[in-house]
């Protein structure tokens, strides 16, 4: 990281840019383009690395500090390319397959929409589940005695047929005897198998009862059983049963007992556990994921459907803001809050001390659509060379519910719909929390050795990682929908002020390099922090995303120190003790440069899923700072906060 922002960081930067473009396409419902862009990123990275390696000629500098990052990026691009490919490859055949059956119309409409090729990046829940299952398969399965017997009989039969084929037609007697002996053997096999199966079944039943009793004893403290407790009891019994048949849980328990403080062991256990699809915990994970996905899917697909109709009728948001203004002005004042006031709004909630932590995400804001800036101002901005992300955003926000095609008959309807979306999201978030809690408590129940504070944290982190990985994308899509207005305002600010120098954002002069000396074209101060922040999009687990934010802020501090030392032209470290007075302006600059308006939604989601223990720690501080910087940049285009 020593090379602050000079030429050395360039390939990574370009690669990041490519990947970011691909992600933008991906989230923007363009899997084919995204797929191509991912492949381009990968190709670019390997080309760049190849050149570097060739230049180094086997020397030690073949691997630069950026190399692991580049490789990681390539890996992540490959992952995403795979899922894009899955989207491209899977949705169509599935739809054909279901062709004659009375499949839900909505899917047909979407898949075969006249938008042509614009497939949803999100698979229908049924296919989501199928993928879950196929991923789960491929592990050996134990056969029941009857299955085993029939397998053996098949072998016998095959052997018999082979022998008969070898016999001459004249050896009829031998053939008959062979046939008879085969029938006898097969019968015997079956009888034996049946008997074995019966005893086994009896034993299993006995064991199940015994385990159920054990589970009951375990839970005996509570008298009245809620359905959840009953369910947990059943699951626990299932786990005990599983453990009777499998060796590994016992081995892991022993290992845990031996090294109770080894957190790597905890991670290992969880990934091991989840790699056995027939383990009750892994099964519960799949079921809960599917439940959440089925709830998210209708919302995101509805939005996408809205989008496709909207993009045909609307063009960009200059018309949008016109309509919105016409629509919103007559609305009763109390209903409409400007997004700039979101903080005050939040504050008033705090005053009531309702649910302090969730204030930001649960406050019923009804967003305005930029009514403060006049539409005439918007028009030239639209003509400016736009980046694809901006176009996407434009389409994304041009949904009919925020701008009606007909005369504004019911001015309150959009607000109501928005509120219901918010409610839905809130309920889903609650379900996610409950799901993760259930998985965690079941895991702790199954492996008592995990029940220490640090192991529990580690365990939770691993469970979340597994849980969120297929769900983050659709979840974020819903968040983006809810925080649309703020995202629009932010993207506007980013467009308009993208060349604003750090000094105008309040960064003090000694904390960024003056002039352009030593800086290649296209490079700018704190670019490494911008890159670090951009990596957030590639992660799909809240904890990992928070780590990205923390890293970005740390890089800011490192860079600031470096710049400061360069100014004073004496290599004395720690001369710039960066406090919030310095950090926030720099972070605002980094946010502006990142050109990632979806950070608003990412942060809102992260605020919901950050662990309680991290809330007041470094992660919480970094998240809060990022949210502040976002709010500040968002307000920039109103000019209210620049001083």
């Amino acid at each position: 990281m020593a090379a602050g922002g000079d030429g050395a960081a360039k390939p990574l930067q370009t690669a990041m840019k490519l990947a970011a473009g691909a992600i933008e396409l991906d989230t923007g419902n363009r899997p084919w383009e995204a797929y191509v862009e991912y492949l381009k990123s990968i190709s670019y990275i390997s080309q760049a690395l190849l050149e570097e390696a060739a230049a180094a000629k086997g020397g030690s500098d073949a691997v630069t500090p950026d190399t692991p990052k580049m490789l990681k990026l390539a890996e992540q691009c490959l992952e995403r390319a795979k899922s894009s490919a899955a989207v491209l490859g899977n949705v169509k055949p599935a739809a054909h397959e279901r062709g004659p059956s009375p499949a839900p119309i909505s899917r047909h409409r979407r898949v075969f929409s006249d938008e042509g090729g614009k497939l949803s990046p999100f698979l229908p829940p049924e296919i989501f589940q199928k993928l879950q299952i196929t991923k789960a398969q491929g592990t050996k399965k134990e056969l029941t005695p009857l299955e085993e017997a029939s397998l053996q009989n098949q072998k016998l039969r095959a052997a018999y047929e082979a022998r008969v084929a070898r016999l001459n037609p004249s050896q009829a007697v031998q053939k008959t005897s062979l046939t008879l002996s085969l029938q006898r053997q097969m019968m015997e096999n079956l009888v034996i198998a049946k008997a074995r199966e019966e005893t086994l079944q009896r034993k299993m039943e006995e064991r199940r009862l015994r385990l159920q009793e054990a589970a009951n004893r375990r839970f005996s403290s509570s008298i009245a059983l809620t359905p959840e407790e009953q369910e947990q009891r059943a699951l626990y019994a299932a786990i005990l049963e599983y453990e009777q048949d499998h060796e590994w849980p016992r081995l892991w328990k022993a290992k845990l007992k031996k090294n109770p403080t080894d957190l790597a062991l905890v991670s290992g256990l969880i990934s091991h556990l989840l790699s056995f699809p027939e383990h009750p915990i892994a099964q519960l994970l799949k079921t809960l994921q599917h439940v959440i996905y089925s709830r998210l899917y209708p919302i995101v697909s509805q939005n996408l459907a809205d989008l496709s109709t909207a993009s045909r009728t609307s063009r960009g948001f200059s018309s949008l803001s016109l309509d919105a203004e016409g629509l919103l002005t007559p609305a009763p004042g109390g209903r409409r809050l400007r997004s700039s006031q979101s903080l005050y709004c939040m504050a008033s909630v705090q005053e009531n001390k309702v649910n302090l932590r969730h204030s930001l995400s649960t406050t019923p804001l009804s967003e305005d659509l930029g009514t403060e800036s006049s539409p005439q101002d918007e028009a030239p901005a639209r003509l400016a060379d736009r980046e694809s992300s901006f176009e996407d955003l434009e389409r994304f926000l041009a949904a009919p519910e925020s701008w009606p095609t007909g005369p504004p008959a019911e001015p309150l309807a959009p607000a109501e719909k928005k509120a219901s979306l918010r409610e839905q999201l809130k309920a889903i978030v609650k379900d996610i929390h409950n799901s993760v809690d259930r998985l965690l408590s079941l895991t702790l129940l199954a492996f008592e050795g995990l029940n220490t504070a640090s192991s529990k944290d580690q365990c939770l982190a691993r469970i979340e990682e597994a849980f969120f990985s297929p769900l983050w994308a659709p979840l974020l899509a819903v968040y983006r929908r809810v925080y649309q207005a703020r995202e629009v305002a932010l993207s506007r600010s980013m467009e308009r002020h993208r060349n604003m120098p750090p000094s105008e954002l309040g960064v003090s002069a000694n904390l960024f390099p003056q002039g352009s000396k030593g800086h290649a074209a296209g490079s700018y101060p704190y670019s490494t922090a911008v890159q670090e922040l951009g990596l957030i999009l590639l992660e799909s687990c809240p904890q990992r995303k928070l780590e990205c934010i923390v890293r970005a802020l740390r890089v800011i501090c490192e860079c600031a120190e470096e710049y400061c030392a360069a100014h004073e032209s004496r290599p004395q470290p720690a001369s710039a003790a960066i406090g919030a007075d310095d950090l926030l302006p720099i972070l605002s600059y980094v946010v502006l440069k990142s050109n990632l308006p979806q950070l608003v939604a990412e942060c809102a989601a992260l605020e919901e899923f950050i662990h309680e223990g991290y809330l007041i720690g470094e992660e919480g501080y970094c998240l809060t700072s990022l949210q502040s910087a976002l709010a500040y940049v968002e307000a920039l285009h109103r000019g209210a906060m620049v001083k």
Partner: protein, 222 residues
């Protein structure tokens, strides 16, 4: 998840986690103040990589372990509106002014108003007159500052980051007050509905080592 909070009242090996926000105008010296405090005594651990923006400190006060998370905030006017998301869930606030700068004291008064409005009386306020090494250039009278502090239920402290005066006392006192508040809060909650909803976030009273009673004693000096 918040299960650990309400249970096991009493007993020694308790640990508290407190969030403290640091407020003050640009050049009142809040950065040096907090750096001084966190570098000073327990020098075993390097200060966090976020430098003076976010600092942590572990203390042991009468057998109670305290984890302090000190959140610096931006003092510039342009970031004023962003304050609330920094101070939510704070247990304490340190408001710093420069005794040679009347203006910075006025700013403190504004913040006090805002904090009381947002967080009520649950937050422990400390008003700190920094730079007492520059006594000769004092522009804020001791009398005025202390009277004001008392009138808003805050405590007043005199410090010098430069000479390292009064800082240790300030934080120790604040921690004691926060423990007090947390215990009162906890007792009140204990009497009320047993486990209704999530406990107020921020006051995390963690019973660490719930099973390891055998290890006895709580005298693990930090």
């Amino acid at each position: 998840m918040a299960a650990a909070a309400g249970s096991g009242a009493g007993g020694g090996g308790r640990s508290f986690s407190f969030k403290v926000v640091l407020l003050g105008e640009g050049c009142v010296g809040k950065t040096s103040l907090v750096l001084r405090y966190c570098e000073n005594k327990f020098n075993d651990k390097h200060i966090t990589t976020l430098q003076a923006s976010f600092l942590t400190k572990k203390l042991n006060i009468g057998g109670k372990r305290v984890n302090l998370a000190i959140w610096d905030t931006a003092g510039q006017e342009r970031f004023h509106a962003l304050g609330p998301i920094y101070y939510r869930d704070s247990n304490g606030a340190i408001l710093v002014y420069d005794i040679t700068d009347e203006d910075s004291f006025q700013k403190v008064k504004n913040w006090v108003k805002e904090l009381r409005k947002m967080l009520g009386n649950e937050i422990c306020l400390c008003i700190v007159g920094n730079k007492i090494d520059l006594e000769k250039e004092r522009h804020v009278s001791v009398q005025e500052a202390e009277t004001y502090a008392e009138s808003v239920g805050a405590k007043h402290y005199h410090t010098s980051a430069k000479q390292n005066k009064g800082i240790e006392e300030l934080f120790l006192d604040l921690c004691k007050r926060m423990i007090e508040t947390a215990q009162v809060d906890e007792r009140a909650r204990g009497n009320g509905a047993s486990q209704s909803g999530t406990a107020r976030r921020g006051v995390q009273i963690i019973d660490d080592e719930p099973q390891a009673q055998s290890s006895g004693g709580c005298c693990s000096s930090g």
